[in-house]
């Protein structure tokens, strides 16, 4: 079925379309990433690990003085509380600080009295100079003092170097969200979630829908009436409402547990599959209506093939191009709907996804922090755009009625 499709004239037309081939390349790149992630490329724990102080901006931007000071003070106050605890427990501060490490940024082991010296200096600068002004961002002349505080923070928590440094950079180059989690890791991990939802739901819906659609048109009679009734019923309920009601059915079951992120995707699969099959079913039904009047079907009947055999062997393979087009349309739909459901709190639970990221970023935008929404939107935009171009090219190449 696919072999014939790949050798067809439409396929040649598709291959000549350079933009479409580029889009296909982008999709394959995403797919490869998703496969890599699926086999443990990035663990789920990595998406939840704290890697930097909260709302750290990404790499194009030097933060304001007050933000720089806040980041440095994050480390210094950790050290401060750790030294106090250590003196009470008669321990080395390093032993307590180890737990405060942010990914590769681990605490250095200094002489115990060196901690107090550095802390005194940092708080001295803070109290005598920096705290005296209302808004540090308006006082660029204080920059050297802030730099000194940053140096002290770096003495406690040195920047990792070498391979570790690169690993740390890859986690922080897009900044961190409100919980200090890495935006880059979360955005890339979301590719896996998007492909999981997109592939599973669109493959099942297309296969199921086309089979039903072809059967409805080919057999006619009560089969047709029943199937038409089912899909007109389902499509008469607004889409988001039906999705939400279907997902609510799973509330309070084991499929509604953030601790089990893989199971918690099941409601999404069920809801999407039970709404998505309608599109391909309609299209394939219409196409089969036309095909069943064609001469080769009559010829097959005349030879004496059974009806089910003709349906599976002669009719459905000739609707393969429509199945591909619908598959790619549904994939886009799945990715977009996931984002919307996650925003409404009905979607992905317990792991990162573009929808979760955009939802979390909603309030950050008011404080001019665009890294999270930017990263999620960009990755999603490129994928959806590639799929849009790909779908257009498919329709162009295979659907004679499609208007360019």
């Amino acid at each position: 079925m696919t072999g014939r499709l790949l050798r067809s004239r439409g396929a040649r037309k598709f291959r000549r379309n350079r933009l479409a081939m580029a889009a296909l390349g982008v999709i394959l790149l995403y797919f490869a990433t998703a496969v890599f992630l699926f086999f443990g490329g990035v663990s789920m724990e990595a998406t939840k690990e704290r890697v930097a102080p909260k709302h750290t901006p990404g790499f194009f931007q030097t933060p304001d003085l007050d933000q720089r000071l806040a980041f440095a003070m994050h480390f210094i106050s950790e050290v401060d509380s750790a030294t106090r605890l250590a003196s009470r427990r008669d321990q080395h501060p390093h032993d307590i600080l180890v737990e405060k490490a942010l990914a590769e940024r681990r605490p250095a082991r200094l002489e115990p009295q060196r901690y107090d010296e550095l802390l005194d200096e940092a708080f001295g600068i803070l109290e005598e100079e920096l705290d005296l002004v209302d808004n540090i961002a308006d006082h660029p002349e204080l920059e050297p003092r802030v730099e000194r505080v940053e140096e002290i923070a770096a003495a406690f928590f040195p920047m990792p170097t070498g391979w570790e440094g690169r690993a740390y950079w890859s986690r922080t180059f897009l900044g961190s969200d409100a919980a200090g989690q890495s935006i880059s890791i979360r955005a890339i991990y979301s590719i896996k979630v998007a492909f999981q939802i997109g592939l599973i739901t669109s493959v099942i819906s297309v296969l199921f829908g086309s089979l039903l659609g072809a059967a409805a048109a080919f057999f006619g009679g009560w089969v047709d009436h029943a199937i038409t009734w089912v899909f007109s019923t389902l499509s008469s309920i607004p889409y988001l409402v039906l999705l939400s009601v279907l997902i609510v059915v799973f509330f309070g079951t084991i499929f509604d547990d953030p601790e089990r992120p893989f199971l918690s995707l099941v409601p999404i699969y069920v809801a999407f599959c039970s709404t998505f099959w309608i599109g391909p079913c309609r299209v394939i039904r219409g196409e089969t209506m036309k095909i069943k009047e064609l001469e080769y079907v009559q010829a097959a009947t005349a030879i004496g093939f059974g009806r089910v055999y003709i349906l599976l062997k002669h009719v459905i393979p000739n609707t393969a191009h429509l199945m591909f087009i619908n598959f790619s349309l549904l994939f886009i739909g799945a990715i977009k709907s996931e984002v919307i459901l996650s925003f409404l709190g009905l979607g992905v639970k317990g792991q990162a996804s573009w929808g979760i990221m955009i939802r979390d970023a909603k309030d950050e935008v008011a404080s001019y922090f665009f890294w999270q929404i930017g990263a999620a939107t960009f990755l999603m935009f490129v994928l959806v755009l590639a799929f849009n171009i790909f779908t257009d090219a498919l329709q162009d190449a295979f659907d004679p009625r499609h208007v360019d």
């Binding site: 009734w229 089912v230 007109s232 019923t233 389902l234 008469s236 309920i237 607004p238 988001l240 409402v241 939400s244 009601v245 279907l246 609510v248 059915v249 509330f251 309070g252 977009k336 984002v339 919307i340 925003f343 409404l344 709190g345 009905l346 573009w354 929808g355 955009i358 939802r359 970023a361 909603k362 935008v365 008011a366 929404i373 939107t377 999603m380 935009f381 959806v384 755009l385 849009n388 171009i389 257009d392 499609h402 208007v403 360019d404």
Partner: protein, 337 residues
């Protein structure tokens, strides 16, 4: 014609009954009362709610009663908002939704039909390419992102920059300005909003604009495809051959013949005029139908969910029938099939 309308109506009755069956069935997969009250409810409360919701009766009795009461729009009392009936909630939430969706639909249709017409008129030229590319790019961005950045650039940033006169608001105090008056018809209280232009601009213009921009991508592409298809028809060539001006061909010949798909497209969006855009209502805190329904779903307020879905689905089906009828009026061939 009348027999056609009657046929369409009769055909849709089983579909509607099916919808109600599906929704009621889905809502009863888990005991609604337990879902609403949570784990720590006491026996008396549970028994009381079950009794009032009629859950002790067999499903078919519940279904019949729902249908019978539904004829008078009586869907019982909301669980969450004690003392308010579902019907009151329903009637109160329609005007806020419509104050956004009606202007949005009109603006979107006018703009995207014009743009589609222009695009097909200059087919293959740079302006057409630009529009097509813009439409594809626009379609690839999530609705949520449009809303977030729309709020940011449309209302938040100008306020931050100290533009006192900037009228647009992020929403939030919708209830304050949306005072309701009401009149009664056959004992049914029908509320209508006291809207004046300034408050409309303040709270509704921004969601309307966002909704227009979002749907532009899809609609423009659709209308362009329709027009391009019409362009290749014989009657256009005839018109051109007899020397009609390009403008006349475009606006008189083409637009008239493209009317069927345009009507269908607009008609299919009619139910959304009432349901409203769930996402816009959530973000702009508009107490419309979509928002009320989604909050009812997350609150597990079963009478509300049932009543709202029943009404929304009914409106949806009615608009489908209306589309078919209009279709048959415009194109007599449809009546026969």
């Amino acid at each position: 014609m009348w027999s056609f309308i009657l046929r369409r109506l009769l055909y849709n009755v089983p579909v509607y009954l099916g919808i109600l069956l599906l929704v009621m069935g889905l809502l009863r997969v888990r005991n609604p009362v337990y879902a609403y009250l949570g784990k720590n409810a006491d026996e008396k409360q549970i028994a009381q709610l079950e009794e009032s919701f009629g859950l002790n009766d067999p499903f078919i009795v519940q279904y019949g009663r729902f249908l019978w009461k539904g004829l008078r729009l009586d869907f019982g009392e909301s669980w969450k908002y004690q003392g308010t009936t579902v019907r009151e909630k329903l009637l109160a939430s329609i005007p806020p939704s419509m104050s956004i969706t009606v202007p949005a639909l009109i603006l979107t249709s006018v703009i995207s039909i014009t743009v589609g017409l222009m695009s097909s008129f200059y087919r293959g030229r740079w302006i057409d390419r630009l529009l097509v590319i813009a439409a594809v790019l626009g379609m690839s961005i999530s609705f949520l992102v449009y809303i977030i950045f729309g709020q940011f650039f449309g209302a938040f940033l100008p306020k931050q920059m100290g533009l006192e006169w900037w009228p647009l608001e992020i929403g939030g105090s919708f209830d304050l300005w949306f005072s309701m008056s009401s009149f009664s018809v056959f004992g049914l209280r029908v509320p209508y909003p006291d809207i004046n232009a300034m408050t409309w601009v303040k709270f509704c213009l921004l969601p309307v604009l966002i909704s227009v921009i979002v749907s532009m991508g899809y609609d423009t592409r659709f209308y362009r495809a329709v027009m391009v298809e019409e362009c290749n028809r014989d009657y256009i060539i005839t018109a051109r051959a007899k020397g009609a001006t390009k403008r006349k061909i475009m606006f008189v010949h083409m637009l008239k013949n493209a009317m069927i798909p345009i009507i269908t497209r607009i008609m299919t969006t009619l139910p959304f005029l009432i349901t409203g855009s769930i996402l816009l209502e959530m973000y702009f805190n508009i107490p419309g139908m979509g928002r009320t329904l989604i909050t009812a779903i997350t609150d597990m307020d079963y009478p509300m969910i049932q009543g709202f879905t029943a009404v929304i689905a009914l409106l949806y089906i009615l608009s489908i029938i209306l589309t078919d009828v209009l279709y048959a009026l415009v194109d007599p061939r449809v009546r026969l099939s």
